[in-house]
Structures are given as C-alpha cells and as structure tokens.
Amino acid sequence: MTQLPTSTQKKLGLVIDLDTCVGCHACVISCKGWNTENYGAPLSDQDAYGANPSGTFLNRVHSYEVTPLATSAKPHPAAQTIHFPKSCLHCEDAPCVTVCPTGASYKREEDGIVLVNEKDCIGCGLCAWACPYGARELDQDEGVMKKCTLCVDRIYNENLPEVDRTPSCVRTCPAGARHFGDLGDPDSDVSQLVAERGGMDLMPEQGTKPVNKYLPPRPKDDLPEFDVLAPYLEPVAENSGGFIGWLDKALDKLPSKGAN
C-alpha cells in the first residue's frame, strides 16, 4: 500500500557525522557486499572490468570543497574538503512511496523503514524521479528498484551476534562517523547526538522530512602563523667528527653556483 502511515512507532535511521567522515568509502563497499548477497535481487555491475564500469549502489560517498565566507579577520579563508556519504534518508513524508503505482514501495508502520517489495515492482522508475536525494537506483540486470533497507535483515537478525545487529555501513565505518538508532525517541543516543551537535536535514525545502540527520563539520582550528616544522629541521649535531664531520666540511668548501 503506497499511502504513508500517519505515524510510525519508531523512526529508525542514521546519523552521519560530516566532521569525522574521512571519505574512505568502506561503508560503500560493505553496503554493496551485504546487500548484494541478502535482501532481494543482487546489486549488479555492468562492464565491471571494462572501460566504462557502472553499477547499482545503495550508498555513495561524494566529496565537496567548501570555501568559507571571507571576513575582515580572515580575508582568504582556506577551503575545506568535506566527505559526504548519502543513502536513503527514510523520509517521514516520503514522496517515493506515494507515487508508486503498484504498492511495491512502502513505509513500515512499526519502524519507519522505507522498503521496496521487489515482486510487485514493475521498474517504472517513478519513485526514483520523486526522490530528491538520488537514493533509489533501478538495477539494470533485474529491472527492479533498489534502495537502502537500513539492513532490515541485520538489525532484527537473532542469528547474528548482538554487536552486528546494526546496518553494515555503521558496523564497518572505521572513523565512527555513522550512528544508528531511533530518532523518534528523544532520549536515544542518536537523538541526543543530533541535539548536541545541531544535526540537520538535507533539502528541508523539499518537504520530505528526512529521518536521517547530518552532523555539520565543526569549525576548523586556526594554524599558528609560524613554521611548525622548523624546530625539527635544526642541525642535530653541531661539531660532529669522523667521516660525517669530514664530509660536512668538504661539502661546505665546495664552491656553490649562484649561492652567496
């Protein structure tokens, strides 16, 4: 049924820390690995080893360069590189769900996860048109719509050790930049983190009310205006003897072109 539930019992989602993400793409790989072997059709690749490779991914990491606005104190602020992982945000007002003609796309009443029932999907692509974030990709081999499932087959999976009952990307991230939890519960760790760090919505003007939140990068420290490496480049030994001492003196005596 592609009508949205009026409310969901939980709002499971991710909190992604743009301050700590190092852009390693480990989450991209672990997502592809888990999801190509588990829920639904595999995530196919086309021309994987050829000249023009392309494939289905549920999580992609972009990198942006942001130039801070100039101030009188800092007329030429240094640009910042920010790595930016992006997957389905499991929106509360998910436009991808309501446009679906078959009922294949739906939002779960119990936890708010947005899923595709691949057996009903006709591959019309309309849900991908409706998603502002590019979170849905039509798999070229299978002809069905693929999207992040929030690893619905891990988070409730009693066959996995408890530590693994979290989305694959979160489990993998070496920087601790990804957090998973119930954003509908104001006392949950993720909600606290969002409140503390000023977590934000992407494209709020689109009216999708994303559940996933992004933590903005913290302000960068200022580098002191001296050469931090200079102390380490001082000569270690002033009066060295032996072969090194002789070499040092011999080299000093050589006439150097252009110098002095």
Partner: protein, 291 residues
C-alpha cells in the same frame, strides 16, 4: 531528464488520440457507420499505440496489471485506470455509432470526460514532481490538456475550434518555456541546501562518488540537449502551431493540406515533448555539481 523515446512517443500520440476521442464522444463530427469506424480506428491506434509504447521502458512490463492498484495516492495508477475506462466506454459508444447507427449520447459524454481525465492524470505525473521544478506548476496540466484538445480538434476536422485551440495551446506552451526557465532558481534548492553545508560557505563538487557514470546520471542529468533549446523551441512552435494555423486560416481547404497541417502539428508536439524532458533539471544533479 533523459528524453526516453518511448515516453515521448507515448505522451505525444496518446495525447492526440484521447483528444480525438474527446471530440468523437461529443459528437463532433457527427458521424455513423463506416466514417465513424475510421475515425474511431485513428483515435484508438493513437491512444493505444501510445499506451503500449509507454510499457517499453518498464523493467517488468509483465506485471503492469499491478499498476492499477494504488489509485488512492499514485497519479500513474490513476492514469492507467482512466485510460482503460475511457477506452472501454468509448468502444461501446463507437459500437453504437458504427454497428447500430444509434447515438448513445450519455456514454459519449462519459467517454469524453474520461478521455480528458486520462490526459490530465498523465500531466499530473509530471506536475507533481517537486524534484523537477520546471514541471512542478499548474501550467504543466494546462499545457497537456490544451495540446491534446488542439490536436484532437485538428484530427476531428473542427476547423474553427482547432484554430482557437492551437492559438491557446501555443500561448500556454510558450508560457511554460518562459516561466519554466527560472523555476529551478525560484525553487530555493541549490548545492548549499542539498548538502546542508551552505552555513559554512560556497559549496563546490570536488569528487563524484565513482569515476564512472550511474543510473542517476543517465536518467536525471541530461546536459547535452539543452544547448540548442532556443532553436528547437522555434522549430517546435513553428511546426506545432504556426504552420497548422496558417494552413487552416489562409490556404483554401483541401484534404491534402489538412493532412500536412496534422503531420506538422504532430512533429512539432513531439519536438516540444523532447524539449519537455531534455530541459527538465532534477535536483539530484546538484549532488554531482550538475544540473
């Protein structure tokens, strides 16, 4: 947006076909027997041909029947239902005219209404997309409806009506071009809101997620086609509106010239429809620093 031929053919032909069925339902022209038969054949070939071609871009056309189920929320589902209902009702009405020489007028009115509703639901599939600001306005259904009516009147041989509708639809088409050009900027979505990084400063795409292309870029980012858009607009406008109106108003009536007017109109509408897709920019392009 990628201008997929199947969708351009579908919206162009079925728009015309349902436009013709609308006038046939109203009894314009008032035909029976063999003449009625041929009019209905043309209407059905266009409408059904368009609908069939629209299934070509589906990943699983064999499951298309499921698409009738979500009419409560989905314009695509509503379109399917309206189209099938219009075709069934108009088939009954047509059977009365062709085989029984009798006009079951209430059926005709219902069929006409359903035919227009089909065109409207098609247009709403595009107009509802907040992600594509150029389409996300009431002018989009206005354009689809008037184009369908103009083409229908032309095919139905309603000369005076056709001229009036061609002028109106031409004006609305030009308006959608002019208003659509600034729609993306007015939508307020840009790289800064897309990434949330606007509070730091100006955002530039530094590296895409992959070196190769992907489904999103193929489907939603079509930069090539926009280069010649001004020239194509002039060509589309001339073929779809100027030439047919000139033929109908200025030249003496002949069937050959009427056919030229119709073909010119169809070519022009197809060209405008190509532009409708090629010029439409999806906000997802912003994540790639493209539009």
């Amino acid at each position: 947006m990628h201008p997929a031929p199947s969708v351009i053919i579908f919206t162009t032909l079925s728009g015309l076909g349902f436009g013709l069925l609308f006038f046939l339902g109203l009894g314009m022209p008032d035909v029976t027997g063999w003449t009625a038969f041929w009019f209905f054949v043309i209407g059905y070939v266009l409408a059904v041909g368009g609908l069939i071609s629209s299934t070509f871009h589906l990943g699983h056309p064999e499951r298309a029947i499921k698409a009738f189920s979500q009419w409560r929320s989905s314009w695509l589902s509503r379109e399917g239902i309206c189209a099938v209902a219009a075709l069934l009702v108009m088939a009954l009405f047509g059977a009365g005219l062709v085989f029984f020489n009798s006009t079951w007028q209430p059926l005709g009115y219902l069929g006409a209404l359903l035919s227009l509703a089909t065109v409207f639901t098609t247009s709403m599939i595009y107009a509802q997309m907040k992600t594509i600001p150029r389409w996300n306005m009431p002018w989009t259904p206005a354009k689809f409806l008037t184009l369908s009516l103009a083409g229908g009147a032309l095919l139905a041989g309603q000369v005076t009506l056709a001229v009036i509708l061609l002028v109106i639809s031409g004006g609305i088409t030009a308006a959608t071009w002019a208003i659509g050009d600034g729609a993306f900027a007015r939508s307020g979505t840009d790289m800064e809101t897309a990434t949330g990084l606007g509070r730091i400063g100006k955002v530039k795409a530094f590296e895409p997620p992959h070196t190769g292309t992907n489904y999103l870029l193929r489907e939603f980012v079509h930069v090539v086609g926009r280069k010649h858009s001004q020239k194509l607009r002039i060509i589309a406008g001339t073929l779809a509106f100027v030439i047919p109106v000139f033929i109908l108003l200025v030249l003496p009536f002949s069937h050959v010239l009427a056919l030229v007017a119709i073909l010119s109109h169809i070519a022009g509408v197809a060209c405008a429809r190509w532009l409708f897709f090629a010029e439409a920019e999806h906000v997802v392009g912003l994540y790639y620093g493209k539009r």
